[in-house]
Symmetry: C2
Subunit: 223 residues, 2 copies
DNA sequence: AAAAAGTCAATTGTTAACAATCTACTTTCG
DNA sequence: CGAAAGTAGATTGTTAACAATTGACTTTTT
C-alpha cells in the first residue's frame, strides 16, 4: 500500500499527538470513553498503533485503562489541580534556583513574545490558545534550569490534565488579565531581581491562579 | 491454548515488571540492546505484549527507542545522577512540608522495619536488596505527603535508572553504613524535630550520597 | 416478582504474518 | 585503493484475525 510521503513519524506518535491534543483541547471530555476500534476506524489504520498511543498517554496521565474494561479520559477535581499546582510551583522555583536567576537570552525573548501573543489571544478570547501560551511560558521558566530531567518531570505533571481542567470542568474563562500580569511579574523578576524574589513571584502566581479560578467557578454556579 | 492459571495480570504488565526488575537489578546492563523478538521467544509469547511493555518502561525512562533502530537501556552519568538527586531532594522536602512533619504511623513502622532489614542486608552485602530498601525508605518519605501525584512524579524520576547507576556503572558497593545512618537521622527528625530540621536532613542526605559515591569511584579507579 | 443462571454482543488482549526501514557488508566504478 | 552504490539480513512497524473477558440482557427458578 502507498503511504503518505509526508509522514516521517510513526503512526503511534501521530495518533498519540492528536489524541493528546484533543483531550487537552477538550474535544474529548474527561470521563469520556475511548474505544480503540473507533479511533482506528477514524484514522483508517489498524488497532495496534492506536493501542500503543493510548497506552502512552495513559503513562502520561491523561487516560486510565482498566483491565478488559477499556480506556477513559481522566477527570480532575479542584483539589487535584491545587495539588498539581503546588508541585509545579516547587519545580519551577527549583529551576530558578538552578540557573541562579540567570535566564538564557533566547528564553527571555520567547517569554517576551509569549506575553505579546497572550495579549492578542486575550482580546480574541481564544481559550485554547491561552492554555497553550500559558504552558509555553511556564515551560520557559522550567527550561531556564537547562535540565532535561526537570523538564520531563514537570511536563509529566502538566499533562496530568491541568489545562483540560481549565477548559472543561469549569468551562469558565480563565482570567486573562491576572494570568498575563502574573507572568509579566515573573519575567520582570528574572530580569532584575534576586532568586528569592523570582521564587516568591512564582509561588505567588500558583497561589493566586487557583483562587481566582475558584471564584470564577462560584460566580458561574450562582447564575 | 491453555494458559497458566495463576496469571491474573495481563502479559504486558508481567513482562514490564520483569524487565524493569532486570534493568534496575543490573541483569540487563545500561547501553545494552533489547530485541523484541528475543524477549518474546524467551517468554514464549508473541511480540505484541513485549512491545507494549517496552514502550511502557520507555515512558518510565528506563530505555529509549529510536525509530526503526530499536530499544536500548539508558545509561546514566554522574552528572545525571546529581541532577536526579537534586530533584528528588526537592520533592521529598516538599512531602515533608505537605504533611507538616507529621508522619503517619504506618509509614513510621515501615521505615523502622526498613532500617532493620537494611542492617541485615548490609551484613550479607546483598546489593540488590540494599537498592530496593533504599527505594522503599524514600518512597515512605514521599508518601508522607499523602499525595498520589507527588508520589507518581517522584517515582518517574526514580525509575530514571538511579538504582541501576549504583549497581552497574560504578559496580562499586554502596557505602551501607552512611546510607543507613542517614536514613536513621531522617526518621529521627520526622519523629522529634521541626519540618525545617527534616528538610535539612533530607537535603543533607542527597548531598552526601553522591559525594561518597564519587569517592568510591575514585578509589576504584586507582586500583 | 426477585434472585440466580445463562446467553450474547461489544471490547480488550494476543497472535502470527507481512511491510518498511535500518545496518553492515559487498560490489562496482573512478 | 577508496568512495559510492547496491544488496541481504535483521529488526522494528503495521495489519488483520482470533481468543478471552466483561457487562447487559434474557431466561429460568424459586
Amino acid at each position: 500500500m502507498v503511504k503518505a510521503a509526508v509522514s516521517r513519524k510513526t503512526l503511534r506518535e501521530q495518533v498519540a499527538e492528536i489524541l493528546r491534543k484533543k483531550i487537552l483541547n477538550g474535544e474529548i471530555k474527561p470521563g469520556e470513553r475511548i474505544i480503540e476500534a473507533d479511533v482506528a476506524k477514524a484514522f483508517q489504520i489498524s488497532r495496534g498503533p492506536v493501542r500503543e498511543a493510548l497506552r502512552q498517554i495513559e503513562e502520561e496521565g491523561l487516560v486510565t485503562y482498566e483491565s478488559h474494561k477499556g480506556c477513559i479520559v481522566k477527570t480532575m477535581s479542584y483539589e487535584d489541580m491545587q495539588e498539581a499546582y503546588l508541585i509545579r510551583s516547587t519545580l519551577e522555583t527549583l529551576a530558578a534556583k538552578m540557573c541562579s536567576g540567570n535566564l538564557p537570552s533566547d528564553l527571555e525573548e520567547r517569554m517576551e513574545r509569549n506575553l505579546e501573543k497572550m495579549g492578542e489571544a486575550a482580546e480574541k478570547r481564544d481559550l485554547y490558545q491561552i492554555v497553550e501560551l500559558d504552558e509555553e511560558f511556564h515551560s520557559c521558566v522550567v527550561m531556564s534550569s537547562q535540565s532535561e530531567k526537570l523538564y520531563k518531570v514537570w511536563k509529566s505533571l502538566e499533562s496530568g490534565n491541568t489545562s483540560a481542567y481549565f477548559t472543561m470542568e469549569t468551562e469558565s474563562l480563565v482570567p486573562f488579565d491576572v494570568l498575563k500580569a502574573n507572568h509579566q511579574r515573573i519575567l520582570e523578576a528574572f530580569r532584575t531581581k534576586s532568586v528569592e524574589e523570582i521564587c516568591r513571584e512564582i509561588e505567588n502566581h500558583y497561589m493566586i491562579v487557583p483562587k481566582v479560578l475558584f471564584e470564577e467557578m462560584q460566580k458561574k454556579k450562582n447564575l
